[in-house]
């Protein structure tokens, strides 16, 4: 009886704590959704469950001639697609070399990559800003894409290398015996087997431009080049508290698809990260 009681109290404690966590987690998210349905534009008087809710902010985003939302969406898609394709290609080549070949400079190459993944590209923002300005890539999507791809290489290369390392070496060695060349092994054996991790790398790099705010902020200047994150930020920053409901509506539209994809994929990322960390 005593044991049962203790058990019950414990379980209640656990569920109680989880309930508090649920409220803390869900409240801001639901509040955002409620905010986006408020007909007014300011924070003041906005309710989580508005009396006279409407989709007018959503409609404004898509139909109003003053709205750049679709242009931002297009820009973000361009940047995301280019970053995703570019970095997957670079990363898989580098990871393949580090995983399967023993060559002069390999060890130092790996150390350099390990070190570089600690330094965010952001740290060199002074230089990136001046340099892109110098070569005329400031305020262009290409400048942004290049910085994204370059910055994504070190960390992702480790993720993919870790996965390549788990593919049995006998597979490519027997193919080599049969006379397959380097590229044949890469394209017909390694890459198809590494599809899961490559998909993760591609998707996470695709999603990064939707989530990142600061690099676009440094690189992009004119509104017609903005990505979604930057454009939405300007809704609330330009006239604070004025367009908060519009910001909420625009955010909901990107947060929902991204969160769904993310929830489906996060366990691949986690297993990639932990295996990369323990097995190297």
């Amino acid at each position: 009886m005593n044991h049962k009681l203790k058990n019950g109290i414990e379980l209640t404690g656990i569920y109680g704590f989880l309930l508090v966590m649920f409220i803390i987690i869900l409240y801001p998210l639901l509040w955002t959704f409620g905010l986006s349905l408020n007909p007014g534009s300011s924070l003041y008087g906005a309710d989580i469950i508005p009396d006279n809710w409407s989709f007018k902010h959503y409609i404004w985003l898509f139909t109003n001639p003053d709205s750049d939302y679709l242009i931002w969406y297009k820009n973000t898609l361009i940047v995301a697609t280019a970053t995703s394709i570019g970095s997957t290609i670079f990363v898989s080549l580098v990871a393949y070399a580090f995983s399967r070949y023993r060559f002069f400079g390999r060890k130092y190459g790996i150390y350099t990559f390990l070190l570089l993944q600690m330094f965010p590209v952001l740290m060199a923002m002074v230089a990136i800003y001046i340099l892109l300005n110098l070569v005329g890539l400031l305020d262009t999507l290409w400048g942004l894409i290049l910085v994204y791809i370059g910055g994504s290489i070190p960390m992702n290369a480790f993720l993919v290398k870790g996965y390549f390392d788990t593919i049995p070496r006998e597979l490519d060695e027997s193919a080599k015996m049969d006379g397959a060349g380097h590229f044949r092994i890469l394209f017909t054996i390694m890459l198809p087997l590494a599809k899961p991790i490559l998909a993760v790398v591609a998707l996470f790099n695709f999603m990064a431009p939707f989530m990142d705010f600061i690099l676009p902020r440094i690189i992009l200047r004119s509104p017609e080049n903005f990505t979604l994150a930057l454009g939405l930020y300007n809704f609330v920053n330009a006239q604070f508290a004025n367009n908060f409901t519009r910001f909420a509506a625009g955010s909901i539209l990107i947060a929902i698809p991204i969160a769904l994809v993310f929830l489906m994929l996060q366990r691949y990322l986690i297993s990639g990260l932990t295996s990369g960390a323990t097995k190297g």
Binding site: L43, L93, V126, G150, A241, A248, S251
Partner: protein, 427 residues
């Protein structure tokens, strides 16, 4: 006759000859390789001679005629010259070793390979470089080059007042660094920003890890039902784009009409808390928000590890009559730490440079009298302000350099913890 030839083949001569890259290889009868090396080194000198020449001149002088020489351009050419030189030197050293190794092989009597074979060999041994090449190229120009540029900038006097191309920059050695610790306004700002950065990194990250660990352990309890649903909700903050949630929190914490003051604090205590206008409360809010944002990732990591701990450990502990605390201390905790330590260090490094949250929540504010950084500015957001608001480029670069040194300390610990580092050979 063949053996005579092999014995008379000298390693010393091969190495000495390859002081001019290619000659040693030719002496080794590696004709294709030798020719390629010769052509490559000649091409390197011819093509890059001008860049190297101007680059080094620019790096030393930073230009001589104002409005004609752009110091920034010269500095970047100088860095390119440095990068090219280091590539050239690496190639050069590799060439010396290569000639030596081949000569030794010949001396030991291994057969001299045919042209076709040596061609295949060359293809085999250069293939990994071909793979790494494009990625490395991009990395050098987008990550390493800007980092170097920033490092050099820290030793110049680049501010809005004398910005190129109108003016020339000068090398000022360590003036920017001494200014940080001697000029009173800089010193007080630097010290308060640095100390808050360190406190912030330590407190915010530790809380998020502790919460994640607690949650991962209780959700993993066999008695808890609906684990999937619970885990999904707990991961949700990680899945929603960070800039959205941070801006939402800015609204929630708004001093006057934010929901937290209006619906929770005011009804309970009467007065609202100055979340955005008092540095102390802004810091509390920031730590709370970072916990909200950051625990799900660690939670997901820990959950993954917990599921992989063999139940035999716990069964054995039960046999010995271990208490729950003991089981946590001696089984769960070490397992979690062992598997995730490098990633946890990354969490600390990440928060150390957590620009997004600090900047988006309150732009590093509120302002503090007597210093030129906001009350919640961390080093990296201060660098941002110095660069883009007050155009103090060189001092911003100097602070970035200090930042880099601190990050390097994190990196050092990570290297030591990463098991790959220990088993050097099999990375």
């Amino acid at each position: 006759m063949a053996s005579d030839q092999t014995r008379s083949h000298s390693v010393k001569i091969a190495t000495l000859l390859s002081i001019i890259p290619g000659l040693g290889q030719l002496y080794n009868k590696r004709f294709i390789k030798g020719t390629i090396f010769l052509i490559l080194s000649a091409a390197f000198l011819i093509v890059f001679y001008d860049i190297l020449n101007i680059g080094y001149w620019g790096l030393f002088t930073l230009g001589e005629i104002p409005a004609v020489d752009d110091s920034r351009l010269l500095l970047s050419q100088g860095i390119i010259a440095l990068i090219l030189t280091s590539f050239g030197l690496t190639f050069y050293v590799a060439n010396l070793f290569d000639a030596r190794r081949d000569a030794k092989k010949i001396q030991d009597g291994s057969a001299i390979t045919s042209i076709k074979e040596s061609f295949l060999n060359a293809w085999d041994s250069s293939f990994p470089y071909l793979l790494v090449g494009p990625g490395l190229f991009l990395l050098v120009f987008i990550v390493i080059f800007p980092l170097l540029f920033m490092a050099f900038l820290a030793f110049t006097n680049y501010t809005l007042m004398n910005s190129p191309p109108k003016n020339l920059l000068d090398w000022v050695a360590f003036d920017n660094f001494t200014a940080l610790v001697t000029i009173p306004m800089w010193r007080s700002t630097f010290l308060s920003v640095l100390s808050w950065t360190l406190i912030w990194t330590f407190v915010a990250t530790t809380i998020q890890i502790a919460l994640a660990m607690f949650l991962a352990v209780i959700v993993n309890d066999p008695r808890v039902k609906m684990k999937r649903l619970i885990r999904t909700v707990l991961i949700l903050p990680w899945a929603v784009p960070g800039f959205v949630t941070i801006l939402i929190f800015t609204a929630l914490f708004n001093d006057n009409f934010g929901a937290i003051n209006r619906d929770i604090i005011m009804p309970l205590f009467g007065d609202g808390i100055p979340w955005l206008s008092d540095p102390f409360w802004t810091r509390i809010a920031l730590i709370g928000i970072q916990t909200w944002l950051g625990f799900p990732f660690v939670f997901a990591l820990f959950t993954g590890v917990l599921q992989s701990i063999s139940s035999e450990w716990y069964e054995a502990a039960d046999m010995d009559g271990a208490s729950r605390m003991q089981k946590f201390r001696f089984i769960t905790f070490p397992h979690l730490m062992f598997a995730t330590a490098p990633l946890l260090i990354m969490q600390y490094a990440g928060n150390f440079n957590n620009f997004n949250l600090i900047y988006l929540f309150n732009q590093g504010g509120p302002a503090v009298q007597g210093q030129n950084a906001g009350g919640t500015d961390i080093l990296i957001s201060w660098v941002y302000d110095l660069t883009f608001q007050s155009s103090q480029f060189s001092i911003a670069a100097a602070i970035s350099l200090i930042l880099g040194l601190i990050v390097a300390i994190f990196a050092f610990f990570q290297f030591r913890k990463t098991s790959t580092f220990k088993e050097g050979g099999e990375m």
